[in-house]
Homo-oligomer: 321 residues x 2
Protein backbone atom coordinates (compact mmCIF):
# COMPACT_ATOMS: atom_id res chain seq x y z
CA UNK A 1 0.00 0.00 0.00
CA UNK A 2 1.25 3.48 -0.87
CA UNK A 3 1.96 5.80 2.09
CA UNK A 4 -0.49 8.64 1.44
CA UNK A 5 -4.11 9.31 0.59
CA UNK A 6 -5.77 12.46 -0.71
CA UNK A 7 -8.95 13.68 0.95
CA UNK A 8 -11.28 16.04 -0.91
CA UNK A 9 -14.25 17.62 0.84
CA UNK A 10 -16.66 19.27 -1.57
CA UNK A 11 -18.86 21.86 0.11
CA UNK A 12 -21.27 24.31 -1.45
CA UNK A 13 -18.79 27.18 -1.08
CA UNK A 14 -15.31 25.70 -0.74
CA UNK A 15 -13.62 22.50 -1.80
CA UNK A 16 -10.92 21.63 0.72
CA UNK A 17 -8.31 18.96 0.01
CA UNK A 18 -5.20 17.59 1.61
CA UNK A 19 -2.58 14.87 1.63
CA UNK A 20 -2.86 12.58 4.65
CA UNK A 21 -0.60 9.84 6.00
CA UNK A 22 -1.65 6.57 7.67
CA UNK A 23 -1.57 8.11 11.14
CA UNK A 24 -4.03 10.81 10.17
CA UNK A 25 -1.57 13.67 9.85
CA UNK A 26 -2.58 16.22 7.25
CA UNK A 27 0.76 16.72 5.48
CA UNK A 28 -0.48 19.65 3.42
CA UNK A 29 -3.83 21.12 2.44
CA UNK A 30 -5.37 23.78 0.27
CA UNK A 31 -8.71 24.77 -1.20
CA UNK A 32 -10.54 26.13 -4.23
CA UNK A 33 -13.94 27.76 -4.69
CA UNK A 34 -16.56 25.15 -5.56
CA UNK A 35 -19.10 27.43 -7.20
CA UNK A 36 -16.68 29.21 -9.55
CA UNK A 37 -17.21 26.83 -12.45
CA UNK A 38 -20.70 26.33 -13.85
CA UNK A 39 -19.30 23.47 -15.95
CA UNK A 40 -18.24 20.46 -13.92
CA UNK A 41 -15.38 19.74 -16.36
CA UNK A 42 -13.79 23.14 -15.61
CA UNK A 43 -14.11 22.48 -11.89
CA UNK A 44 -12.45 19.07 -12.27
CA UNK A 45 -9.63 20.71 -14.27
CA UNK A 46 -8.90 23.29 -11.59
CA UNK A 47 -9.17 20.70 -8.83
CA UNK A 48 -6.76 18.42 -10.68
CA UNK A 49 -4.26 21.23 -11.20
CA UNK A 50 -4.32 22.35 -7.58
CA UNK A 51 -4.21 18.86 -6.05
CA UNK A 52 -1.37 17.91 -8.39
CA UNK A 53 0.54 21.04 -7.42
CA UNK A 54 0.18 20.01 -3.76
CA UNK A 55 1.27 16.44 -4.50
CA UNK A 56 4.35 17.60 -6.42
CA UNK A 57 5.30 20.21 -3.80
CA UNK A 58 5.20 17.53 -1.10
CA UNK A 59 7.16 14.92 -3.00
CA UNK A 60 4.17 12.59 -3.08
CA UNK A 61 4.02 11.72 -6.79
CA UNK A 62 3.27 7.96 -7.19
CA UNK A 63 2.79 7.74 -3.41
CA UNK A 64 -1.00 8.26 -3.33
CA UNK A 65 -2.92 5.08 -2.47
CA UNK A 66 -6.29 6.54 -3.34
CA UNK A 67 -8.47 9.62 -3.34
CA UNK A 68 -11.42 9.82 -0.97
CA UNK A 69 -14.16 12.36 -1.61
CA UNK A 70 -16.90 13.57 0.70
CA UNK A 71 -19.65 15.48 -1.07
CA UNK A 72 -23.33 16.23 -0.56
CA UNK A 73 -25.61 13.47 -1.92
CA UNK A 74 -22.61 11.49 -3.15
CA UNK A 75 -23.44 7.82 -3.68
CA UNK A 76 -20.81 5.25 -2.69
CA UNK A 77 -22.27 2.57 -4.95
CA UNK A 78 -22.83 4.52 -8.16
CA UNK A 79 -20.03 7.09 -7.82
CA UNK A 80 -22.54 9.79 -8.73
CA UNK A 81 -23.60 13.04 -7.14
CA UNK A 82 -27.32 13.37 -7.68
CA UNK A 83 -29.31 16.59 -7.35
CA UNK A 84 -27.34 18.04 -4.45
CA UNK A 85 -29.26 21.17 -3.45
CA UNK A 86 -26.09 22.99 -2.32
CA UNK A 87 -24.07 22.43 -5.48
CA UNK A 88 -24.42 24.39 -8.71
CA UNK A 89 -24.25 21.38 -11.04
CA UNK A 90 -27.69 19.98 -11.75
CA UNK A 91 -28.70 16.41 -12.51
CA UNK A 92 -26.48 13.38 -12.06
CA UNK A 93 -22.72 14.00 -12.07
CA UNK A 94 -20.44 10.94 -12.51
CA UNK A 95 -17.94 12.41 -10.06
CA UNK A 96 -15.94 9.29 -9.32
CA UNK A 97 -15.44 8.51 -13.02
CA UNK A 98 -14.49 12.10 -13.88
CA UNK A 99 -11.89 12.18 -11.12
CA UNK A 100 -10.45 8.75 -11.91
CA UNK A 101 -10.14 9.61 -15.60
CA UNK A 102 -8.32 12.79 -14.72
CA UNK A 103 -6.08 11.65 -11.87
CA UNK A 104 -5.52 8.04 -12.93
CA UNK A 105 -5.71 7.19 -9.23
CA UNK A 106 -8.52 5.09 -7.65
CA UNK A 107 -11.32 7.26 -6.24
CA UNK A 108 -14.02 6.48 -3.65
CA UNK A 109 -16.84 8.92 -2.95
CA UNK A 110 -19.50 9.11 -0.26
CA UNK A 111 -21.61 11.76 1.40
CA UNK A 112 -20.10 14.12 3.97
CA UNK A 113 -21.61 12.50 7.05
CA UNK A 114 -20.49 9.02 6.02
CA UNK A 115 -17.02 10.40 5.38
CA UNK A 116 -17.03 11.90 8.87
CA UNK A 117 -17.95 8.50 10.35
CA UNK A 118 -15.16 6.77 8.47
CA UNK A 119 -12.73 9.51 9.50
CA UNK A 120 -13.69 9.09 13.13
CA UNK A 121 -13.31 5.32 12.86
CA UNK A 122 -9.92 5.59 11.17
CA UNK A 123 -8.34 8.44 13.10
CA UNK A 124 -10.69 9.69 15.83
CA UNK A 125 -13.06 8.93 18.69
CA UNK A 126 -14.43 5.76 17.06
CA UNK A 127 -11.14 3.91 16.74
CA UNK A 128 -11.81 0.34 17.82
CA UNK A 129 -15.59 0.74 17.81
CA UNK A 130 -17.51 -1.66 15.59
CA UNK A 131 -21.00 -0.29 16.23
CA UNK A 132 -21.51 3.44 16.43
CA UNK A 133 -23.53 6.28 14.97
CA UNK A 134 -21.96 9.56 13.91
CA UNK A 135 -24.25 12.56 14.12
CA UNK A 136 -23.09 15.78 12.44
CA UNK A 137 -24.79 18.85 13.84
CA UNK A 138 -24.17 21.58 11.28
CA UNK A 139 -26.47 23.69 9.12
CA UNK A 140 -28.34 20.41 8.79
CA UNK A 141 -28.16 17.14 10.70
CA UNK A 142 -26.24 14.35 8.97
CA UNK A 143 -25.42 10.84 10.06
CA UNK A 144 -23.16 7.92 9.31
CA UNK A 145 -24.07 4.55 10.79
CA UNK A 146 -21.49 1.84 11.39
CA UNK A 147 -22.68 -1.70 12.10
CA UNK A 148 -20.25 -4.51 12.77
CA UNK A 149 -17.36 -2.37 11.53
CA UNK A 150 -19.02 -1.50 8.21
CA UNK A 151 -20.71 1.67 7.07
CA UNK A 152 -24.42 1.16 6.43
CA UNK A 153 -25.08 2.19 2.81
CA UNK A 154 -28.38 0.35 2.39
CA UNK A 155 -29.81 -0.99 -0.83
CA UNK A 156 -29.33 2.21 -2.84
CA UNK A 157 -26.29 3.76 -1.13
CA UNK A 158 -28.32 6.50 0.58
CA UNK A 159 -28.87 4.96 4.05
CA UNK A 160 -28.15 6.95 7.20
CA UNK A 161 -30.38 10.00 6.78
CA UNK A 162 -31.18 10.24 10.47
CA UNK A 163 -31.56 14.02 10.23
CA UNK A 164 -34.84 13.16 8.58
CA UNK A 165 -36.27 10.93 11.29
CA UNK A 166 -39.64 12.35 12.24
CA UNK A 167 -39.46 13.66 15.81
CA UNK A 168 -42.74 15.57 15.74
CA UNK A 169 -45.40 13.64 13.89
CA UNK A 170 -48.10 16.29 14.32
CA UNK A 171 -47.72 20.01 13.81
CA UNK A 172 -43.98 19.68 13.24
CA UNK A 173 -41.77 22.34 11.68
CA UNK A 174 -41.38 22.40 7.93
CA UNK A 175 -38.05 20.84 6.94
CA UNK A 176 -35.88 21.62 3.92
CA UNK A 177 -36.81 18.16 2.61
CA UNK A 178 -40.41 19.27 2.12
CA UNK A 179 -41.84 17.18 4.96
CA UNK A 180 -42.55 18.29 8.53
CA UNK A 181 -41.17 17.40 11.94
CA UNK A 182 -37.71 16.12 10.94
CA UNK A 183 -34.92 16.00 13.55
CA UNK A 184 -32.95 18.41 11.35
CA UNK A 185 -35.62 21.10 11.70
CA UNK A 186 -34.95 21.16 15.45
CA UNK A 187 -31.41 20.01 16.22
CA UNK A 188 -29.31 21.70 13.53
CA UNK A 189 -27.72 25.13 13.93
CA UNK A 190 -30.62 26.45 11.87
CA UNK A 191 -33.05 24.61 14.12
CA UNK A 192 -31.57 26.23 17.22
CA UNK A 193 -32.01 29.66 15.66
CA UNK A 194 -35.60 28.79 14.72
CA UNK A 195 -36.33 27.67 18.28
CA UNK A 196 -34.88 30.93 19.61
CA UNK A 197 -37.15 32.92 17.29
CA UNK A 198 -40.18 30.88 18.36
CA UNK A 199 -39.38 31.35 22.04
CA UNK A 200 -38.84 35.10 21.58
CA UNK A 201 -42.21 35.44 19.89
CA UNK A 202 -44.15 33.27 22.32
CA UNK A 203 -42.56 34.42 25.56
CA UNK A 204 -42.43 37.91 27.00
CA UNK A 205 -39.48 37.81 29.38
CA UNK A 206 -36.38 39.91 28.69
CA UNK A 207 -33.50 38.21 26.84
CA UNK A 208 -30.15 39.30 25.48
CA UNK A 209 -31.35 37.90 22.19
CA UNK A 210 -33.89 40.71 21.93
CA UNK A 211 -30.96 43.02 21.11
CA UNK A 212 -30.48 41.22 17.81
CA UNK A 213 -32.87 41.61 14.85
CA UNK A 214 -34.94 38.46 15.14
CA UNK A 215 -34.34 37.24 11.60
CA UNK A 216 -30.57 37.55 12.04
CA UNK A 217 -30.22 35.41 15.17
CA UNK A 218 -27.77 32.53 14.72
CA UNK A 219 -27.09 29.49 16.86
CA UNK A 220 -23.81 31.18 17.86
CA UNK A 221 -25.80 34.15 19.24
CA UNK A 222 -27.95 31.75 21.25
CA UNK A 223 -24.84 30.02 22.58
CA UNK A 224 -23.20 33.32 23.56
CA UNK A 225 -26.35 34.50 25.34
CA UNK A 226 -26.72 31.19 27.17
CA UNK A 227 -23.10 31.37 28.32
CA UNK A 228 -23.90 34.76 29.80
CA UNK A 229 -26.70 33.15 31.78
CA UNK A 230 -29.62 34.22 29.59
CA UNK A 231 -32.57 32.08 30.69
CA UNK A 232 -34.39 32.01 27.37
CA UNK A 233 -31.21 31.06 25.49
CA UNK A 234 -30.51 28.29 27.99
CA UNK A 235 -34.05 27.02 27.51
CA UNK A 236 -33.40 26.83 23.77
CA UNK A 237 -30.53 24.43 24.42
CA UNK A 238 -32.63 22.49 26.93
CA UNK A 239 -35.32 22.09 24.26
CA UNK A 240 -32.80 21.13 21.57
CA UNK A 241 -30.89 18.68 23.77
CA UNK A 242 -34.11 17.01 24.90
CA UNK A 243 -35.30 16.38 21.35
CA UNK A 244 -31.88 15.09 20.32
CA UNK A 245 -31.64 12.83 23.38
CA UNK A 246 -35.07 11.34 22.67
CA UNK A 247 -34.02 10.77 19.06
CA UNK A 248 -30.78 9.04 20.09
CA UNK A 249 -32.79 6.71 22.35
CA UNK A 250 -35.03 5.93 19.38
CA UNK A 251 -32.01 5.24 17.14
CA UNK A 252 -30.69 2.82 19.75
CA UNK A 253 -33.56 0.35 19.23
CA UNK A 254 -32.38 0.07 15.64
CA UNK A 255 -28.68 -0.77 15.86
CA UNK A 256 -27.79 -0.71 19.57
CA UNK A 257 -24.57 1.28 19.05
CA UNK A 258 -21.74 1.32 21.57
CA UNK A 259 -21.56 5.09 21.15
CA UNK A 260 -22.99 8.13 19.46
CA UNK A 261 -20.32 10.52 18.23
CA UNK A 262 -21.33 14.14 17.88
CA UNK A 263 -19.57 16.45 15.47
CA UNK A 264 -20.06 20.01 14.25
CA UNK A 265 -20.63 23.46 15.69
CA UNK A 266 -23.49 22.57 18.01
CA UNK A 267 -21.56 19.62 19.45
CA UNK A 268 -19.20 22.18 20.96
CA UNK A 269 -21.94 23.68 23.13
CA UNK A 270 -20.80 21.50 26.04
CA UNK A 271 -23.17 20.84 28.91
CA UNK A 272 -25.67 23.37 27.58
CA UNK A 273 -26.60 20.72 25.02
CA UNK A 274 -25.20 17.54 26.55
CA UNK A 275 -26.87 17.71 29.95
CA UNK A 276 -30.47 17.83 28.71
CA UNK A 277 -29.49 15.42 25.91
CA UNK A 278 -28.22 12.77 28.33
CA UNK A 279 -31.15 13.24 30.71
CA UNK A 280 -33.69 12.82 27.91
CA UNK A 281 -31.80 9.95 26.32
CA UNK A 282 -31.66 8.05 29.60
CA UNK A 283 -35.31 8.74 30.38
CA UNK A 284 -36.50 7.67 26.92
CA UNK A 285 -34.27 4.62 26.62
CA UNK A 286 -35.78 1.15 26.32
CA UNK A 287 -34.87 -0.78 29.48
CA UNK A 288 -32.45 -3.30 27.95
CA UNK A 289 -30.35 -0.45 26.51
CA UNK A 290 -30.41 1.86 29.54
CA UNK A 291 -27.00 3.27 30.39
CA UNK A 292 -25.34 1.46 27.49
CA UNK A 293 -24.70 3.82 24.56
CA UNK A 294 -22.05 6.44 25.26
CA UNK A 295 -22.21 9.96 23.91
CA UNK A 296 -18.78 11.04 22.67
CA UNK A 297 -17.53 14.15 20.95
CA UNK A 298 -15.54 13.99 17.74
CA UNK A 299 -11.78 13.90 18.29
CA UNK A 300 -10.90 15.34 14.91
CA UNK A 301 -9.78 18.97 14.75
CA UNK A 302 -12.55 20.83 12.98
CA UNK A 303 -10.17 22.44 10.46
CA UNK A 304 -8.89 19.00 9.43
CA UNK A 305 -11.97 16.88 9.98
CA UNK A 306 -13.56 17.19 6.55
CA UNK A 307 -10.32 16.37 4.73
CA UNK A 308 -9.45 13.58 7.18
CA UNK A 309 -12.89 12.03 6.86
CA UNK A 310 -12.77 12.05 3.08
CA UNK A 311 -9.17 10.88 3.01
CA UNK A 312 -9.96 7.81 5.12
CA UNK A 313 -11.92 6.48 2.14
CA UNK A 314 -8.70 6.60 0.12
CA UNK A 315 -7.38 3.64 2.10
CA UNK A 316 -10.16 1.43 0.77
CA UNK A 317 -9.71 2.57 -2.83
CA UNK A 318 -8.85 -0.25 -5.19
CA UNK A 319 -7.26 0.19 -8.63
CA UNK A 320 -9.86 0.01 -11.42
CA UNK A 321 -9.87 -3.35 -13.21
Amino acid sequence: MKPYVVGIDIGGTNTVFGIVDARGTVIASSSIKTAKHPKIEDYIDELYNEVTRLIVANDAVDKINGIGVGAPNANYFTGMIENAPNLIWRGAIPLQQLLEDKFQIPVVITNDANAAAIGEMTYGAARGLKDFIMITLGTGVGSGIVVNGQLVYGHDGFAGELGHMIVKRNNGRLCGCGRSGCLEAYCSATGVARTAREFLEIRTEPSLLRNIPIDQITSKDVYDAAMQGDKLAKDVFEFTGTILGEALADMTVFSSPEAFILFGGLAKSGDLLLKPLKTAMDKSMLNIFKGKPKVLLSELKEADAAVLGASALGWEAKPAE
Copy 2:
Protein backbone atom coordinates in the same frame (compact mmCIF):
# COMPACT_ATOMS: atom_id res chain seq x y z
CA MET B 1 -21.35 -29.95 6.10
CA LYS B 2 -23.87 -32.40 7.50
CA PRO B 3 -27.22 -32.60 5.68
CA TYR B 4 -29.67 -31.53 8.42
CA VAL B 5 -30.18 -28.87 11.05
CA VAL B 6 -32.50 -28.81 14.03
CA GLY B 7 -34.64 -25.74 14.68
CA ILE B 8 -36.08 -25.10 18.13
CA ASP B 9 -38.55 -22.30 18.72
CA ILE B 10 -39.13 -21.60 22.40
CA GLY B 11 -42.39 -19.78 23.06
CA GLY B 12 -44.04 -18.97 26.36
CA THR B 13 -46.49 -21.86 25.97
CA ASN B 14 -45.02 -24.35 23.51
CA THR B 15 -41.56 -25.29 22.36
CA VAL B 16 -41.70 -26.47 18.76
CA PHE B 17 -38.79 -28.24 17.10
CA GLY B 18 -38.03 -29.95 13.85
CA ILE B 19 -35.41 -31.47 11.60
CA VAL B 20 -34.84 -29.41 8.44
CA ASP B 21 -32.86 -30.07 5.27
CA ALA B 22 -30.88 -27.57 3.19
CA ARG B 23 -33.85 -26.77 0.96
CA GLY B 24 -35.99 -25.77 3.91
CA THR B 25 -38.11 -28.90 4.09
CA VAL B 26 -39.24 -29.76 7.58
CA ILE B 27 -38.54 -33.50 7.64
CA ALA B 28 -40.26 -34.02 10.98
CA SER B 29 -41.40 -31.89 13.88
CA SER B 30 -42.86 -32.14 17.34
CA SER B 31 -43.37 -30.03 20.45
CA ILE B 32 -43.33 -29.97 24.24
CA LYS B 33 -44.87 -27.63 26.82
CA THR B 34 -42.41 -24.89 27.77
CA ALA B 35 -43.90 -23.94 31.10
CA LYS B 36 -44.16 -27.48 32.51
CA HIS B 37 -40.73 -27.40 34.20
CA PRO B 38 -39.98 -24.71 36.78
CA LYS B 39 -36.34 -25.88 36.71
CA ILE B 40 -34.53 -25.17 33.44
CA GLU B 41 -32.51 -28.39 33.80
CA ASP B 42 -35.68 -30.50 33.74
CA TYR B 43 -36.86 -28.62 30.67
CA ILE B 44 -33.54 -29.24 28.90
CA ASP B 45 -33.77 -32.94 29.81
CA GLU B 46 -37.23 -33.33 28.29
CA LEU B 47 -36.27 -31.29 25.23
CA TYR B 48 -33.18 -33.46 24.72
CA ASN B 49 -35.17 -36.67 25.03
CA GLU B 50 -37.86 -35.56 22.59
CA VAL B 51 -35.50 -34.08 20.00
CA THR B 52 -33.30 -37.15 20.19
CA ARG B 53 -36.33 -39.39 19.70
CA LEU B 54 -37.16 -37.41 16.55
CA ILE B 55 -33.57 -37.61 15.28
CA VAL B 56 -33.41 -41.37 15.81
CA ALA B 57 -36.83 -41.98 14.26
CA ASN B 58 -35.76 -40.09 11.13
CA ASP B 59 -32.40 -41.77 10.73
CA ALA B 60 -30.58 -38.47 11.35
CA VAL B 61 -28.10 -39.50 14.05
CA ASP B 62 -24.69 -37.88 13.29
CA LYS B 63 -26.29 -35.96 10.41
CA ILE B 64 -27.14 -32.76 12.33
CA ASN B 65 -24.93 -29.80 11.36
CA GLY B 66 -26.12 -27.60 14.17
CA ILE B 67 -29.04 -26.60 16.34
CA GLY B 68 -30.59 -23.18 15.91
CA VAL B 69 -32.78 -21.77 18.63
CA GLY B 70 -35.19 -18.82 18.54
CA ALA B 71 -36.29 -17.66 21.97
CA PRO B 72 -37.56 -14.45 23.57
CA ASN B 73 -34.69 -12.15 24.67
CA ALA B 74 -32.09 -14.66 23.52
CA ASN B 75 -28.69 -13.07 22.94
CA TYR B 76 -26.66 -14.24 19.95
CA PHE B 77 -23.38 -13.01 21.45
CA THR B 78 -23.64 -14.31 25.00
CA GLY B 79 -25.79 -17.39 24.38
CA MET B 80 -27.98 -16.32 27.30
CA ILE B 81 -31.71 -15.74 27.74
CA GLU B 82 -32.06 -12.79 30.06
CA ASN B 83 -35.24 -11.86 31.93
CA ALA B 84 -37.69 -12.91 29.24
CA PRO B 85 -41.09 -11.79 30.53
CA ASN B 86 -42.93 -14.68 28.81
CA LEU B 87 -40.76 -17.47 30.18
CA ILE B 88 -41.02 -18.95 33.66
CA TRP B 89 -37.26 -19.08 34.31
CA ARG B 90 -36.01 -15.90 35.96
CA GLY B 91 -32.61 -14.25 35.69
CA ALA B 92 -29.96 -15.16 33.15
CA ILE B 93 -30.14 -18.64 31.64
CA PRO B 94 -27.04 -19.93 29.76
CA LEU B 95 -29.25 -21.64 27.19
CA GLN B 96 -26.65 -22.19 24.49
CA GLN B 97 -24.21 -23.80 26.93
CA LEU B 98 -26.86 -25.99 28.54
CA LEU B 99 -27.97 -27.27 25.12
CA GLU B 100 -24.46 -27.83 23.80
CA ASP B 101 -23.46 -29.73 26.93
CA LYS B 102 -26.50 -31.94 26.57
CA PHE B 103 -26.63 -32.48 22.80
CA GLN B 104 -22.89 -32.33 22.03
CA ILE B 105 -23.90 -30.52 18.84
CA PRO B 106 -23.05 -26.84 18.11
CA VAL B 107 -25.88 -24.49 19.09
CA VAL B 108 -26.66 -20.91 18.00
CA ILE B 109 -29.40 -18.90 19.68
CA THR B 110 -31.08 -15.59 18.84
CA ASN B 111 -34.38 -13.91 19.50
CA ASP B 112 -37.50 -14.98 17.62
CA ALA B 113 -37.68 -12.02 15.26
CA ASN B 114 -34.02 -12.35 14.25
CA ALA B 115 -34.61 -16.05 13.66
CA ALA B 116 -37.57 -15.16 11.45
CA ALA B 117 -35.37 -12.79 9.40
CA ILE B 118 -32.69 -15.44 8.94
CA GLY B 119 -35.35 -17.99 8.02
CA GLU B 120 -36.79 -15.64 5.42
CA MET B 121 -33.30 -14.96 4.03
CA THR B 122 -32.43 -18.66 3.89
CA TYR B 123 -35.68 -20.17 2.66
CA GLY B 124 -38.28 -17.43 2.07
CA ALA B 125 -39.20 -14.05 0.62
CA ALA B 126 -35.79 -12.53 1.37
CA ARG B 127 -33.70 -14.99 -0.62
CA GLY B 128 -31.14 -12.91 -2.51
CA LEU B 129 -31.86 -9.72 -0.57
CA LYS B 130 -28.90 -8.14 1.22
CA ASP B 131 -30.75 -5.26 2.86
CA PHE B 132 -34.16 -5.88 4.33
CA ILE B 133 -36.15 -5.50 7.52
CA MET B 134 -38.36 -8.25 8.86
CA ILE B 135 -41.32 -7.07 10.91
CA THR B 136 -43.23 -9.68 12.91
CA LEU B 137 -46.75 -8.59 13.78
CA GLY B 138 -47.87 -10.91 16.54
CA THR B 139 -48.92 -10.36 20.15
CA GLY B 140 -46.07 -7.84 20.05
CA VAL B 141 -44.07 -6.30 17.21
CA GLY B 142 -40.64 -7.79 16.63
CA SER B 143 -38.00 -7.04 14.04
CA GLY B 144 -34.87 -8.44 12.48
CA ILE B 145 -32.71 -6.07 10.45
CA VAL B 146 -30.37 -7.30 7.73
CA VAL B 147 -27.72 -4.92 6.40
CA ASN B 148 -25.35 -5.97 3.65
CA GLY B 149 -26.34 -9.61 4.10
CA GLN B 150 -25.70 -9.66 7.84
CA LEU B 151 -28.10 -9.56 10.73
CA VAL B 152 -27.71 -6.39 12.81
CA TYR B 153 -26.95 -7.49 16.38
CA GLY B 154 -25.48 -4.22 17.61
CA HIS B 155 -22.92 -3.77 20.33
CA ASP B 156 -24.73 -5.90 22.91
CA GLY B 157 -26.59 -8.39 20.72
CA PHE B 158 -30.00 -6.78 21.32
CA ALA B 159 -30.33 -4.53 18.24
CA GLY B 160 -33.50 -4.58 16.16
CA GLU B 161 -36.18 -3.70 18.69
CA LEU B 162 -38.24 -1.69 16.21
CA GLY B 163 -41.46 -2.57 18.02
CA HIS B 164 -40.24 -0.06 20.57
CA MET B 165 -39.71 2.88 18.24
CA ILE B 166 -41.73 5.77 19.61
CA VAL B 167 -44.54 6.55 17.17
CA LYS B 168 -46.51 8.84 19.51
CA ARG B 169 -44.18 11.05 21.50
CA ASN B 170 -46.96 12.78 23.44
CA ASN B 171 -49.95 11.14 25.07
CA GLY B 172 -49.05 7.75 23.61
CA ARG B 173 -50.42 4.43 24.82
CA LEU B 174 -48.66 2.65 27.65
CA CYS B 175 -46.51 -0.17 26.27
CA GLY B 176 -45.56 -3.44 27.95
CA CYS B 177 -41.99 -2.09 28.13
CA GLY B 178 -43.08 0.56 30.64
CA ARG B 179 -42.73 3.49 28.26
CA SER B 180 -45.43 5.13 26.18
CA GLY B 181 -46.14 5.49 22.47
CA CYS B 182 -44.22 2.46 21.14
CA LEU B 183 -45.09 1.03 17.70
CA GLU B 184 -45.97 -2.25 19.43
CA ALA B 185 -48.73 -0.58 21.44
CA TYR B 186 -50.49 0.21 18.15
CA CYS B 187 -49.52 -2.25 15.44
CA SER B 188 -49.53 -5.60 17.22
CA ALA B 189 -52.58 -7.88 17.46
CA THR B 190 -53.03 -6.51 20.97
CA GLY B 191 -52.71 -2.97 19.63
CA VAL B 192 -55.46 -3.58 17.07
CA ALA B 193 -57.77 -4.83 19.83
CA ARG B 194 -56.91 -1.76 21.94
CA THR B 195 -57.69 0.54 19.03
CA ALA B 196 -61.03 -1.20 18.51
CA ARG B 197 -61.90 -0.68 22.18
CA GLU B 198 -60.91 2.99 21.99
CA PHE B 199 -62.98 3.54 18.86
CA LEU B 200 -66.00 1.76 20.39
CA GLU B 201 -65.82 3.97 23.47
CA ILE B 202 -65.27 7.24 21.63
CA ARG B 203 -67.66 6.72 18.73
CA THR B 204 -71.38 6.11 18.86
CA GLU B 205 -72.14 4.45 15.53
CA PRO B 206 -73.33 0.85 15.41
CA SER B 207 -70.72 -1.85 14.87
CA LEU B 208 -70.70 -5.63 14.76
CA LEU B 209 -68.03 -5.41 17.44
CA ARG B 210 -70.61 -4.12 19.91
CA ASN B 211 -71.98 -7.68 20.06
CA ILE B 212 -68.79 -8.82 21.77
CA PRO B 213 -67.95 -7.96 25.40
CA ILE B 214 -65.52 -5.08 24.95
CA ASP B 215 -62.73 -6.60 27.02
CA GLN B 216 -62.84 -9.81 25.02
CA ILE B 217 -62.42 -8.31 21.55
CA THR B 218 -59.44 -9.76 19.66
CA SER B 219 -57.72 -8.63 16.48
CA LYS B 220 -59.35 -11.62 14.78
CA ASP B 221 -62.80 -10.26 15.74
CA VAL B 222 -61.86 -6.90 14.25
CA TYR B 223 -60.68 -8.60 11.06
CA ASP B 224 -63.86 -10.65 10.75
CA ALA B 225 -66.04 -7.57 11.27
CA ALA B 226 -64.04 -5.56 8.74
CA MET B 227 -64.39 -8.35 6.17
CA GLN B 228 -68.15 -8.13 6.67
CA GLY B 229 -67.95 -4.44 5.81
CA ASP B 230 -68.13 -3.03 9.33
CA LYS B 231 -67.07 0.64 9.05
CA LEU B 232 -65.60 0.98 12.53
CA ALA B 233 -63.58 -2.22 12.17
CA LYS B 234 -62.28 -1.08 8.79
CA ASP B 235 -61.26 2.23 10.36
CA VAL B 236 -59.26 0.31 12.97
CA PHE B 237 -57.20 -1.24 10.17
CA GLU B 238 -56.89 2.14 8.43
CA PHE B 239 -55.51 3.61 11.68
CA THR B 240 -53.17 0.66 12.27
CA GLY B 241 -51.87 0.55 8.70
CA THR B 242 -51.26 4.29 8.67
CA ILE B 243 -49.13 4.19 11.83
CA LEU B 244 -47.20 1.18 10.54
CA GLY B 245 -46.64 2.82 7.14
CA GLU B 246 -45.33 6.00 8.76
CA ALA B 247 -43.02 3.90 10.93
CA LEU B 248 -41.68 1.96 7.93
CA ALA B 249 -40.90 5.28 6.19
CA ASP B 250 -39.01 6.34 9.30
CA MET B 251 -37.07 3.07 9.41
CA THR B 252 -36.06 3.62 5.78
CA VAL B 253 -33.92 6.67 6.62
CA PHE B 254 -31.88 4.38 8.82
CA SER B 255 -30.89 1.47 6.59
CA SER B 256 -32.61 2.08 3.24
CA PRO B 257 -33.79 -1.53 2.88
CA GLU B 258 -34.76 -3.07 -0.44
CA ALA B 259 -37.83 -4.53 1.23
CA PHE B 260 -39.83 -4.82 4.40
CA ILE B 261 -41.09 -8.33 5.02
CA LEU B 262 -44.19 -8.67 7.14
CA PHE B 263 -44.92 -11.80 9.10
CA GLY B 264 -47.48 -12.89 11.67
CA GLY B 265 -51.24 -12.90 12.12
CA LEU B 266 -51.84 -9.26 11.24
CA ALA B 267 -49.76 -9.52 8.08
CA LYS B 268 -52.48 -11.79 6.73
CA SER B 269 -55.09 -9.03 6.87
CA GLY B 270 -54.44 -8.28 3.19
CA ASP B 271 -55.48 -4.92 1.77
CA LEU B 272 -57.30 -3.99 4.97
CA LEU B 273 -53.85 -3.34 6.44
CA LEU B 274 -51.65 -3.05 3.35
CA LYS B 275 -53.58 -0.34 1.51
CA PRO B 276 -53.42 2.31 4.25
CA LEU B 277 -49.91 1.11 5.09
CA LYS B 278 -48.62 1.71 1.56
CA THR B 279 -50.43 5.03 1.23
CA ALA B 280 -48.98 6.34 4.51
CA MET B 281 -45.53 4.94 3.77
CA ASP B 282 -45.40 6.63 0.40
CA LYS B 283 -46.72 9.92 1.75
CA SER B 284 -44.26 9.98 4.66
CA MET B 285 -41.23 8.81 2.68
CA LEU B 286 -38.18 11.06 2.33
CA ASN B 287 -37.90 12.03 -1.35
CA ILE B 288 -34.75 10.09 -2.22
CA PHE B 289 -36.35 6.86 -0.98
CA LYS B 290 -39.81 7.37 -2.49
CA GLY B 291 -41.12 4.28 -4.24
CA LYS B 292 -38.01 2.26 -3.42
CA PRO B 293 -38.63 -0.11 -0.49
CA LYS B 294 -41.00 -2.96 -1.31
CA VAL B 295 -43.48 -4.37 1.17
CA LEU B 296 -43.52 -8.16 0.95
CA LEU B 297 -45.30 -10.84 2.90
CA SER B 298 -43.43 -13.74 4.45
CA GLU B 299 -43.26 -16.81 2.23
CA LEU B 300 -42.84 -19.29 5.04
CA LYS B 301 -45.84 -21.40 6.01
CA GLU B 302 -46.92 -20.21 9.43
CA ALA B 303 -46.92 -23.70 10.92
CA ASP B 304 -43.29 -24.21 9.83
CA ALA B 305 -41.97 -20.66 10.07
CA ALA B 306 -40.78 -20.64 13.67
CA VAL B 307 -38.92 -23.93 13.29
CA LEU B 308 -37.52 -22.96 9.88
CA GLY B 309 -36.32 -19.58 11.15
CA ALA B 310 -34.58 -21.12 14.14
CA SER B 311 -33.18 -23.97 12.06
CA ALA B 312 -31.54 -21.57 9.59
CA LEU B 313 -29.15 -20.58 12.38
CA GLY B 314 -28.02 -24.19 12.56
CA TRP B 315 -26.21 -23.74 9.23
CA GLU B 316 -23.92 -21.14 10.75
CA ALA B 317 -23.20 -23.22 13.86
CA LYS B 318 -19.51 -24.05 14.28
CA PRO B 319 -18.15 -26.87 16.44
CA ALA B 320 -16.95 -25.60 19.83
CA GLU B 321 -13.18 -25.25 20.02
